[in-house]
Chain length 180, copies 2
C-alpha cells in the first residue's frame, strides 16, 4: 500500500513497517528474495509484475535497507538484489503471515512447506524446529519444498520450475546463472 500521507501520523511501529513493506508487491518481492530470486528478470517473470512497478519497488526496498544491489557481471554490468541483515529479519513476520494465509485463506492447504534443513522436521507455527527446540530457525537453515498433496504450480517460468525441487532458502536459484 502506498505510503501515502497519513501513515506518518501513526505512532506505531507497525505503520512504520508498512511504509517499507506494505505496498503492493513489496512483500512478495521479499518472499522471492528468500526463495533465492536475485535478478530483475526472474522477479519479473515469476511475479508477473509490471516492469515499472518492479523497478520502483526494488529501488524502494534498497533505499529502505531491506535489499542491496550486488554486481554479478562486469560487462555488461549486471547486478542482483540480495537481502540485507535487516531484510533477513523479515523472515519471521513473513513466515507467520504465510502460515496464517495457508490456514485461513488458501483452500487445499499451502503450496510450500518449510522444514529445518539440519534435521528435516517441519517448522512449527512460529518458525522454530519442534525437534531441536529453541529459537526460530534462521532462514538459511530452512528447506522449502512443494506440498505434494497439491497439484502442480499455476505458473511456468524458470523460477517456478526451479522451485519444484526442494530448495534451501536464500540459495540462488539456478537460472541462466550456472555458466557450466
Amino acid at each position: 500500500m502506498a505510503l501515502g500521507t497519513d501513515y506518518e501520523l501513526q505512532d506505531c511501529a507497525l505503520a512504520r513497517a508498512l511504509e517499507v513493506v506494505g505496498e503492493r508487491w513489496s512483500l512478495l518481492i521479499v518472499r522471492d528474495a528468500f526463495y533465492g530470486v536475485q535478478r530483475f528478470n526472474d522477479f519479473l517473470t515469476h511475479l508477473g509484475i509490471p516492469r515499472a512497478v518492479l523497478t520502483a519497488r526494488l529501488n524502494g526496498l534498497v533505499a529502505a535497507g531491506v535489499l542491496r544491489k550486488e554486481p554479478y557481471l562486469q560487462t555488461p554490468l549486471r547486478h542482483g538484489y540480495l537481502l540485507t541483515d535487516t531484510g533477513l529479519e523479515l523472515w519471521g513476520p513473513l513466515y507467520q503471515l504465510s502460515r496464517w494465509g495457508g490456514r485461513h485463506a488458501t483452500e487445499g492447504g499451502p503450496h510450500h512447506l518449510f522444514a529445518h534443513a539440519d534435521c528435516g522436521t517441519d517448522l512449527d507455527l512460529v518458525g522454530a524446529c519442534p525437534a531441536c527446540g529453541g529459537a526460530p530457525v534462521p532462514p538459511d537453515r530452512v528447506l522449502m519444498r512443494p506440498n505434494a498433496a497439491r497439484g502442480g504450480s499455476l505458473r511456468d517460468d524458470p523460477v517456478s520450475r526451479a522451485l519444484v525441487r526442494p530448495h534451501p532458502l536464500l540459495e540462488p536459484i539456478a537460472s541462466a546463472a550456472a555458466p557450466a
Copy 2:
C-alpha cells in the same frame, strides 16, 4: 495493496494472506481491533482514514472472516466490529511485523510495549513470555503500555487518550461506551 488481478496467479499462501489484509489500512484496522477499538467512529478518528475507505475495508474484513459485526445498541441500531477466531490468529504476524518495524524503521524505538498480563514480563521476539516459557502468549493475555522513553502521542483522539494507560488487548476501549 489492492488485491488486484494478479495475486490470484501466485501459488503462495502469502499472496492469499495479502489479498485479505494486504490492502492499505487493513492491517492498521486489525491492529486497532486488537487494541480494543470496535466502533466505526473510533476507527475513523484514531486512524484518520477516509470514511469511504474505512467502510470498504471493514466490509472486506468481515467478508473475509477476520472481523464480525456485533450489535451493541438496538435503537438506534449500532454495531461494533470484533475480531473473529481467524482474526485473532493474526496476532502473531502482526506482533512480529510490529517488532521488526520497531527495530528497523522507527527512530526512538517503539511507541508501545507488550507484556504478559499474568506475570508482567515483556514478550520476546516471537511473542512468547520469557519467564513463563512455552508457546506465544495469546492476545487476551497481553498487556500493552506506552513506551515511557518516548514523548507523548502524536494524536489526540479518544482512542489515543485511552491508550496512554496500560491496557489489556481486546478489552473495549472506554469511549462514550460506558453509560454510567
